[in-house]
Amino acid sequence: MKNLERWKEKIELDDLNADEREIFNQMGMGKSSRRKFVKKVSAASLSIWASSYFSSELYANSVTDFSEKPWKLLNAVKVNFQVNDTSKTLTLDSRMSLLDALRERLTLTGTKKGCDHGQCGACTVIIDGKRNLSCLTLAATCEGKKITTVEGFASNGEMHPMQKAFLKHDGFQCGYCTPGQICSSIALLEEAKNGEASYVTEDIKNFQSDLKLSEEEIRERMSGNICRCGAYNNIVLAFKEVHSGDDEMPTWEFATQEQMDNAKNA
């Protein structure tokens, strides 16, 4: 339990990163109530509040970064890249995908493994400004590149507008495809600004920048990110809000008493 205590101290010392601070702030927990809260948290629930610091009697130590562990690697490659504005140097197996480097070596598990075949989009990250599938990107090819993952969008304790929109419009359920959907959506904002065409673009001769994407365009351009829970309609609404300021909400309603009476007596 030593790590749990240490973790609690860390919180009390206010040594939180921007995301963690944001989470607690969003929960209405300022500094003092946060301290109160932490005292009440049981070991298992830390998984929910402070992802990287799970503690258990069965594992002697928790760790945050496996970057320099001396494995006997086949064909080891040293690579330097920037992840979320932090420089990282890794010595890794030449076969390692960027996805596995993020998840298994840097414990940046926000980027998800959904198929490992480039077919589902869950592993989407932004590399040098463009969305990319990290499962089809060998980590060794990322020398000098700038990588942004879902953990890297919040700044100054504030979530990216796209993250807020996903939350507001319920653009997810289980949450597993969500980091990929958000990376794709944020990159798509730029693609629209740059006037990039898609499969359903009708006029590809007349180049225009600052495209206002139609619903069909949004759906097509987000079709590389599978959501098995089926939150597509809400994902479209979330994207629209950030892209065009459209504040349409999901289309559910309750039947009125009048409707109920009419139906019964029809």
Binding site: D19, E20, I23, Q26, G28, K36, F37, K40, S42, S47, I48, S51, S52, L58, Y59, A60, N61, S62, W71, K72, L73, L74, R95, D100, T107, T109, G114, C115, A122, T149, F153, A154, M159, L167, K168, D170, F172, Q173, C174, G175, Y176, R219, S223, G224, I226, C227, R228, C229, G230, Y232, N233, N234, T251, W252, E253, A255, Q259, M260, A263, A266
Partner: protein, 726 residues
Amino acid sequence: MTKTLNTSGVGEAINRVEGHLKVTGKAKYASEFPVENKVYGQGINSTIAKGEIISIDTSEAEKLEGVLKVITYRNAEKLKTFEGERPQIATDSIAPVLQSNKVHYYGEYIGLVVAETFEQAQYAASLVKFEYKEDAAAVINFEKSKSKAYTPDNGSNYSRGNMDKGLSEADMVVEQTYNTPIEHHHPMELHATIASWDNGKVLAYASQQIVEDAIIAISGTFQIPKKDVRVVSAFVGGGFGSKLNLDRHVILAVMASKMVGRPVQVTVTRTQMFTNTNMRQQNEQKMRVGAKNDGTLTALSHETLSHTSTTQEYQEPCGMVSKMLYNVPNNEVTYKLIPMNIQTPFAMRAPGEATGSFALESAMDEMAWKLKMDPLEFRIKNDTQIDLHENRPFSSRLLVECLRIGADKFGWKDRKSEPRSNKKGNWLIGYGVSAASRNSPYQKSNARVILNLEEDEVHATVQMDGTDIGTGSYTIVAQTAAEYLKIPVEQVTVELGDSDFPVTPGSGGSWGAASYCNGARAACENAIKTLKNNRNIEEDEEVALVELLKKNQLTKFEAEGMAEPSAEFEKYSIFSFGANFSEVWVDKDTGIYRIKRMVNVASAGKILNPKTAYGQIIGGLTMGAGMVIAEQTHVEPNFGNFITRSFADYHVPVNLDMANTEVIFLPEEDKIANKMGIKGIGELGITSVAASITNAIFNATGKRMRSLPITPEKLIEAKVEEGVVI
């Protein structure tokens, strides 16, 4: 209980309370816990459908740098194995693996490589060589093996009245067969675990829907006490039934950890998701429907032929809907199973209803067409408030309201009753309707609430071993606690998915919401009751929770609660009901079709949070649309392997496939179902969607599509029904 202002109690459309963690990448799924010293396991799959392993060469794999162990049946730990012939698969079934040299299906686990890194394990797994003695008697071809079908001895066959009499009284008879293929759940999160064995104690971070049953399965398979097993399943990246029971990768990881002395992570690959997690089996459903000219049903029979594995029995209850949905005096439901050398199927979202309602609601549409009746009115005419199967009333049944309100919203009156008469350019436009029903099996559920008072504020933590598989459990449990403790929802923390917490039935079968929330309610009510009793305060006196704790001179207080179905519950049939409407546009030359819009009406008791409930419905509609447009697992008929092995060949709906969807909830609280009036909603959405779409395709084209999925070439090749004007 009256609602206090600003509590955001049940019924409010608040954002998901755990949502921040999901959109920032902080939510921890099973394989994401930073466990020190962990190593990686990679499963190896058989490449024959039936036979024996006669030789294994592990030498090349073992020579590789980083490889710690190659486990096969030769050195595997002894596990509990199945007793009797084909025991029924259940959510708490044991999961023996690597216990003999026998191979039962293509893709079965025959080994596991453990290595320092994932790359080493993957490569080494490809170097282990197996030789087999193949058994040519493998049963792998459904079409050619029908003579091997047996009637399962589980009491599922049913009849009332007399089918022959019912058919002889009918003016019109429809007799048709409907086919649905093997489908796979494919949650986005690959099944995964990080498991450790430490002096006989097991800890598994595992992606499971039912934590308690995972414990039972692990302890049962290893023959160790339940108390020595802990399972943590804080976030589950989708389940849809595939994570109901414990799959063998968890057993492999525990076994490997015992053998190498370090925690072992095993992630099932997307290709292995086809063979080493659950699937929905192929169903051939023969329907016979008899009706009078005025639309009165006289007879209905529903015969299902499907398959199970050679080691375990599973039978999807496809005929359930036919027993209870309509007022038909003569009714028969039968099942037959072919034991095949394919893995054991198990429950996939709305097992029975999703597939059974496709057959029933298609046949109903066919009958309405033959009778020249509006399919909506035909259904309403045969409504019943009594469950004729159980011979007891429904606790509430608002199916007619669902159909009528949905018809108004959808604009059903604009439907052209003659197929092929609504055209726009090259498009043929059709409207379809179907009725939905889904059992709402609320179960016994426990919860703990911990109250903390500090600086005039009460914070509550609710704990239970229930899970949130995307269903919104975190949120609705928080709202329940806010409601019953009368504190703002921001002051509630919910902790789920840990076997150290009180036992619940887990997530599955549409029982989660009612069970979890009533358990949480009971814990909160017990807390308040005890605090009041201790200070001799009348139970109906309104005292704020802060004051109650102060009067008790407590800063911390803990209470547990349990909720379970009442005696009243047993006297009724408790189902959620719904209606689906869809508009489909079919290109008359290419057979390409688009689902343009859908309206769904759901009568599912108290809606705890319309935002998350809407998610459940549109999710169901999406998966239901998938049944029609694409989903199909192909079995190679000579070798028995699946030839759909990735998302490139097993297509699921993507964003562009889906249409705008309007969902209407009926204002309903079913207090017979449980004290909070909650019924299930997680599976209602997928029920009968397929029929609504195929009925719309008939209305558009005059073609009856009785075999899913419907690809454009199938649609082009299909013949227009007799009697349709071209």
